[in-house]
Symmetry: C2
Subunit: 389 residues, 2 copies
């Protein structure tokens, strides 16, 4: 139980035939009584947003931040599909709205899969009715919903966080920011905390920065990225900062789960930059290192080749002095003042052979710091992404 | 004969033991009489420039754009090596200056190889004398020089271009912008055209933009990138625009040769963006597509997955309208007005199975255009870059 952990939510899933495999590919998360509750969302900044992103944005704006359900499909991104794609995404909202007794505007939609293929709305329409009918039955289907939204992911990503007086549940999919073959990271969160839409939106935006927006697998920003939270209010108002903290913890957990399950990755790498001119510069420098093919290849080979890290920091477009930089792998300095530092190679090698690698870059310039989560680059990523077939 | 094709230049090469393999690793290109001639250079904008970049910049500034020789070594980048590294690079210039009877300031230096390893100046010093002594002997050693500067490259890159009354010769190394294991692209050009230093610098800068600066294999900007041209003046003044055109042709040829020999690459991909708001926006959009891991994987798999191309264009930070974009592979439209276009799959497949792939993106917004040369991403790149050993 994750997404249905907070009071007032139900979930259901089913197979519509969108995935060629026949696996479940439709999920609905809704309020138990079908009535709209405060909702907030963060969408991709891709200038070619998928149809579901366009429709969900419109619905949320039109409703003033209220929603009763989220419908999710996997196997086709419904991106670069033109007007028919937009009509299909709107139709999914209509069908779910009819099923739960809500206006279409109170239904949000998320889709993930291949870009540029017309969305098979006929298949989806047929399945929506039975999926909606299943919601709220005795059997909790939150795990089924979390599995139905996966594409190339190998495991479901779920989390349930309890706080004093309320809880936050969440599920996500994404084997990369733009996942291999399939586009998208999607996340749906629920909470029973009582909160108004603007406060909910601010809390979600704050939670997304250090979690999803600090995760990069391949540097690609998908056409479909969407994070949505619904708040039933059944548990009463949270204490000061409590909702922000719970949402941040939930998003952080999902981001870690996505990195661990990233396409073809064998390592999860946390890159921390300190001593930068500002937090923003630290974050940009960390991201430049994280997106470097050469650094990612070194991680795959468990090689602490810090020269590449220095070169990336020095082309990150932030303040940098080559004579002040120090580089640490697993806390061991391999470079100090910009040149090689004597160190215990066995200790570094042992750290790099593990599943989690910690790379710390101290710039020696100021007090700015930031961290980015990434993965190594190995044959698996290429094998997953060479062809769509 | 390439670098010694233009009148007034000699070249020599030898093995100093910098490369563990014992292969030739030192080259000298000098004026035949050891006297300085107009010279120009373009260096990396990496904020951690290697010692040879720092020294060459100082020498060229101090001499007012005059040089008598370029000394090049391969196997160690002499980058992130601190004050000893700078002293070593300066010492190389002194030794060559002594050998050819020129001031150290009239000698420029280029180095390539691993970053962060102290440079073995003792080895190099011993070899410089014999290399310098060989220059100008009956046997032209331009091919030996072109081979001596290679690291993970598999073939030498040379070109000789004749124009009315003068010629341009050139050699380069680079299996990536930041080449696998080894850092750097280096290029040395010679010409017998008569030209003053400022004119030469302007012509070189113009030539570098559409050639080396429009080539990206992995998006990494090395600590050592250097392009140098020496002009002996023995052939008299070139006609209007003739030198610019010859330098551009030489740089373009070397860039093509580097792409064709890039680490682990199986395809050379030319990405052209037209219909952009400006040439600068077109170039930035083309580079975003070229640096996309997902697009590069698709090229490796010969899969015309244009959805990824649209997604990259839409996150390139330039003007973009998803309803106006068209995508062509080998001249065949696979996407028009932002959605899938009917096309002859066999024709596209035949184009993608070749060694050269042409990807054209028409944005439909303005008259800006630009092109970037890149490669696919396959297992070979990862295998070359996992470890430095």
């Amino acid at each position: 139980m994750s997404i249905t952990g907070p009071a007032g939510f139900v979930a259901a899933s089913g197979a519509a035939g969108i995935k060629a495999s026949g696996d479940p590919d439709v999920a609905v998360v809704a309020t138990a009584d079908g009535r709209p509750v405060p909702a907030a969302a963060v969408f991709t900044d891709n200038l070619a947003p998928a149809a579901p992103v366009v429709v969900s944005r419109e619905h949320l704006a039109g409703s003033g931040g209220m929603a009763a359900a989220v419908v999710l499909t996997a196997g086709n991104a419904n991106a670069a599909t033109g007007a028919p794609g937009k009509a299909a995404a709107a139709r999914l909202c209509e069908l779910v709205g009819e099923g739960i007794g809500a206006s279409p505007e109170h239904v949000l939609v998320c889709q993930t899969g291949l870009i540029g293929i017309p969305f098979p709305i006929g298949l989806a329409s047929g399945a929506i009715g039975s999926v909606v009918a299943k919601r709220g039955s005795d059997r909790d289907d939150s795990s089924g919903a979390a599995r139905a939204i996966l594409t190339t992911d190998t495991v479901a990503k779920e989390v349930l966080i309890g706080r004093d007086g309320f809880s936050v549940g969440a599920m996500a999919k994404g084997a990369a920011m733009l996942a291999p073959n399939m586009a998208t990271m999607l996340a749906v969160l629920t909470t029973d905390a009582r909160v108004d839409p603007p406060t909910l939106q601010a809390a979600l935006a704050a939670a997304v920065g250090p979690s999803f927006n600090s995760l990069t697998v391949d540097g690609c920003t998908s056409t479909n990225d969407t994070v949505i939270v619904l708040a039933s209010g059944l548990a009463g108002p949270p204490g000061p900062g409590a909702l922000e903290s719970a949402l941040a913890e939930a998003c952080g957990s999902l981001a870690e789960q996505m990195a661990a399950d990233a396409e073809g990755a064998t390592k999860v790498v946390r890159i921390t930059v300190s001593g930068a001119g500002s937090d923003d510069e630290a974050h940009r420098a960390a991201r430049k290192v994280a997106d470097s093919l050469l650094v990612k290849c070194s991680m795959n080979g468990e090689d602490p080749y810090w020269g590449r890290v220095v070169s990336e920091l020095a082309t990150a477009g932030v303040g940098f002095d080559p004579d002040l930089v120090s580089i640490f792998y697993g806390g061991v300095a391999v470079c100090r003042s910009g040149v090689a530092a004597d160190h215990d190679r066995a200790t570094v090698q042992a750290h790099m052979s593990g599943h989690h690698i910690d790379l710390h870059c101290e710039l020696g310039l100021g007090s700015g710091s930031g961290a980015v989560l990434t993965t190594d680059l190995g044959h698996g990523y290429i094998d997953e992404n060479r062809t769509t077939s």
